[in-house]
């Protein structure tokens, strides 16, 4: 009996100690890895969202440019501001042009093209810029 009692008690004590250390190390490692993973995943999600918004902003900018050209082509008063119908644009994507300065949105003449600076603001308040030029036919 003493042999049976003695050996198992010492062996179980050793095994419990090693397993506990291993589990603690594993928990710490898993925690660190999980934290790093979630931090990475969060960053990637934000970057992906930003990327998607910039792609959408690019489409809005292109649409705005072509609509501006159409307005000029259909006739507008040289030197006066013109407007573009943005009702079909997605919400929270706001195109804007300078209200003063050389590159504002005014109707050009037949001999002097007008460069217009366009800025599209995304829902995340990121700005996409595109300059374009219009000329009266």
């Amino acid at each position: 009996m003493p042999r049976i009692v003695g050996h198992p008690v010492r062996r179980f004590a050793n095994q419990r100690g090693e397993t506990l250390v291993e589990v603690l190390i594993a928990v710490v490692l898993i925690g660190a890895i999980a934290s790093a993973y979630f931090a990475t995943a969060t960053t990637q999600t934000r970057a992906s969202s930003l990327n998607r918004e910039l792609v959408q902003a690019d489409a809005v900018a292109r649409s705005y440019v072509e609509l501006s050209k159409a307005v000029v082509r259909n006739g507008c008063t040289p030197g006066s501001p013109f407007t573009v119908d943005t009702s079909t644009f997605p919400n929270c994507y706001t195109p804007s042009t300078p209200t003063s300065g050389p590159h504002q949105q005014i109707c050009p003449t037949t001999t002097q093209p007008q460069i217009i600076d366009l800025t599209v603001t995304t829902p995340d308040n990121t700005a996409a810029h595109l300059s374009f030029e219009v000329l009266a036919p």
Binding site: I30, N51, D58, T110, H129
Partner: protein
Amino acid sequence: MSRRLFRRRNEEGATLIFVIGFMVLVGLVSAGLASQLASSSKTRVGLDLARNREYAADAAITSDIAQVRANMTNGNALAPCPSAKFTQTLNGVAIQVDCSFSLISFSGDVLRNATFTACPAQSGTVSCAPGSSIIDAQVHYSTPDPQPALQATSVTVDKTYVATWSVNT
């Protein structure tokens, strides 16, 4: 003794293998996501560059169309293309426009047509290389009646018509 060693080896390695497996799995998933994100970002940046290039070329040709029109009314109606290569920078892209003008008498009418080729700016007076053009355009300059003589050096242009507009992306 051998039984004890065997049992201890199994128990000691299990957690480590589990951790390593977990790390590898998480690493693969993260690497896959990062790769996908990097790819989409790179694609978007490429599209942005292409868009900037296209609108810069568009603007440069538009400016050159206006320049030719102005030259036609200023005594250069027979050779209205600018003598120097027209260059313009917009959206951070420098563009050069090559211009050629043709004066054609056709059934009593005179056709004043200009061909424009926009490409990335070349050094010196080098013309756009074949295959490097971004936009090729043909523009017709219309003059009001009564039509000016074929050899008139100054003409009034009332409209410009874009006959062709080819974008090479």
